[in-house]
Subunit: 352 residues, 2 copies
């Protein structure tokens, strides 16, 4: 159903200059995507690591004032757990192995991307809620504003931040709009019944799980009316976690949302679900099988194996040009069709 | 510093009639407290259990339509973990051992409480987000409304709900105002700089912890501007979790908030912190040692040992009459003094 670009991966770490000397770009992934000034733009997540000294494991942390400091651990320290390449655990405390910022690139053809000359290319974390970086930005456009919903990471927890811009030169930081633990926030690109809506993914401890929720707002910064709309499904490809991609696509049949589902081996596939046009808390249909799963070498082998993760696409009629992170390391693209996804959905699937 | 009522415990399970035949009242605890019609009122949390058959463990769950169904497990099933009296774990899924609702009682003297005749005495969970019950309600009064912020529990997760009433006869349910995992939401009883504020306690997975956050709102139902203001403190009495009591008390020196802190043995004590009057995200001082800790038999031995937990008090000048759950089983009261707590706070304590 998905036609991958023959040029995949279209962006790799070799294409990205480090944000500061001494840093190594470890991954470039999970781009937001949008149209602006007749071009296609991506807002990449760039993950960087400090150079590793022999026998040591070190990681960068940003102070609230923007300075970087390095934490360093002895590689053989028994309190250090480096079994997951994405993070360290030391003496029960968790750290990320890399720090991410967002990087702006643009393209005439949607395949070959470059850094724009007249725009600030980098957005870094700021303040106490972003000291471990910012990640996985969705870009939604409506009412003249680009709305950037992204993951804020710090020792205080993982939440959702909002940045707004009209011109990609001046940015308004609106703070944390969804408190920990929350990720994968996708705004609907128009009001429904006089309210804004978003999909989001709180993670429970004990009760609950990694489910997709919906919320409403009058101003995009303050959210309420939280409802749980999509569960994981035991024994299926989305048994462990589900999370929205970018903004749902408005169709005659309903709001079509693409989402990622991971199983208990952390294999990430993509699926879709359909929401009622007037009441987007109602799920009408859902994928029984993935619409896309890791099959190519660049999706199977990388920084974190077996991952297809999307938080950005551009739409042209029935055509979805979807950008995605592959194996948590590189950026790829594929074409999908709105009507094909719609006709693949199972309307009898247990929806929650 | 705290003078316990000689009548403690003032309410026990013997004082509470079950909400339906066949149910057993296991605990009565963690009351919200307020003044209304020249009386002192408590909104109790009543936890009930289904009668246990020999060799079985059963627990009640409410369906979205309000009907109760019972889940039953074989006591010797190796997949069943009943090591914590508050919950079951079965095959990796968590359930509560009891289901809670809220129960209204009133008193002329603040010591002897009875069910009011002309008011609905029970508030039950409703809908998909409260199927495992509702718990630990704070009651705040301002602008003519009583605002009930409470814990909503279901298989979807644990979040904060809001109910509003003016007369304790007609109630408006405002839905989930803070998504999972969140508890311990205490509203400030007036606007500060044109905004409402609340303290809340999201729980992180991986990064973050059980910290106290602050948020702001224009309408009490939609919240944003989330900031982390109070961490747990390693090696201290509040090393594992902290959470706000009820509404902060306005004093000349700042907003005085009473909070619970638990250590790694889940011993719950009370402390306090002081917030800036104009910018309540600024912590000015904090307790180094508890203002109250479990010392009495009814606090040390019960359904869950070594717990003092408060989410309700009434204020009369310098006097705080604090109601609290003891050992997660009974309700007690104590008098504290605003000025004594203020003078006990450490202004040099590391605040976050």
């Amino acid at each position: 159903m998905a036609i991958r670009f023959t040029q995949n991966p279209i962006i790799t770490t070799k294409d990205i200059t480090p944000s500061q000397s001494g840093f190594v770009v470890e991954c470039v992934m999970n781009p937001g995507a949008f149209r602006f000034e007749d071009k296609i733009w991506l807002l990449l997540r760039v993950s960087e690591r400090a150079p590793q000294k022999e026998g040591k494991v070190s990681l960068p942390i940003m102070k609230a004032n923007g300075e970087i400091r390095h934490l360093e651990f002895d590689q053989n320290d028994p309190q250090l757990d480096i079994s997951d390449p994405r993070k360290f655990s030391y003496n029960g405390n968790m750290y990320l192995s890399t720090i991410s910022h967002l990087r702006l690139v643009c393209s005439e053809d949607g395949i070959h991307f470059y850094e724009p000359k007249d725009f600030p290319a980098k957005i870094f974390g700021q303040g106490l809620l972003e000291t471990y970086g910012i990640e996985d930005c969705r870009v939604s456009f409506f009412e003249g504003f680009y709305n950037l919903t992204y993951t804020q990471v710090s020792e205080n927890g993982v939440g959702v931040g909002l940045i707004r811009t009209q011109d990609w030169k001046n940015f308004s930081r609106m703070g944390m709009i969804l408190p920990p633990h929350n990720k994968d926030c996708a705004l609907f690109e128009e009001k429904i019944g006089n309210k804004y809506y978003c999909l989001h993914r709180p993670s429970g401890i004990g009760l609950g799980g990694n489910y997709i929720w919906i919320a409403d707002s009058e101003n995009l910064t303050h959210w309420g009316g939280h409802q749980c709309i999509l569960h994981t499904r035991e024994g299926m490809w989305d048994s462990s976690r589900v999370g929205a991609g970018t903004s749902p696509i408005k169709t005659k049949e309903g709001w079509l949302a693409i989402y990622h589902g991971a199983d208990h081996t952390s294999r990430y596939c993509l699926g879709a679900f359909l929401l009622d046009l007037k009441d987007p808390s109602k799920v009408l249909a859902r994928s029984s099988v993935p619409i896309m799963e890791p099959t190519e070498d660049y999706e199977i082998n990388g920084f974190f194996n077996n991952v297809i993760f999307t938080n950005g696409h551009v739409i042209d009629g029935d055509k979805i040009t979807m950008y995605y992170g592959a194996a948590d390391e590189v950026i790829c693209a594929a074409e999908l069709s709105v009507s094909s996804i719609l006709s693949s959905l199972n309307k009898k699937e247990s929806l929650i």
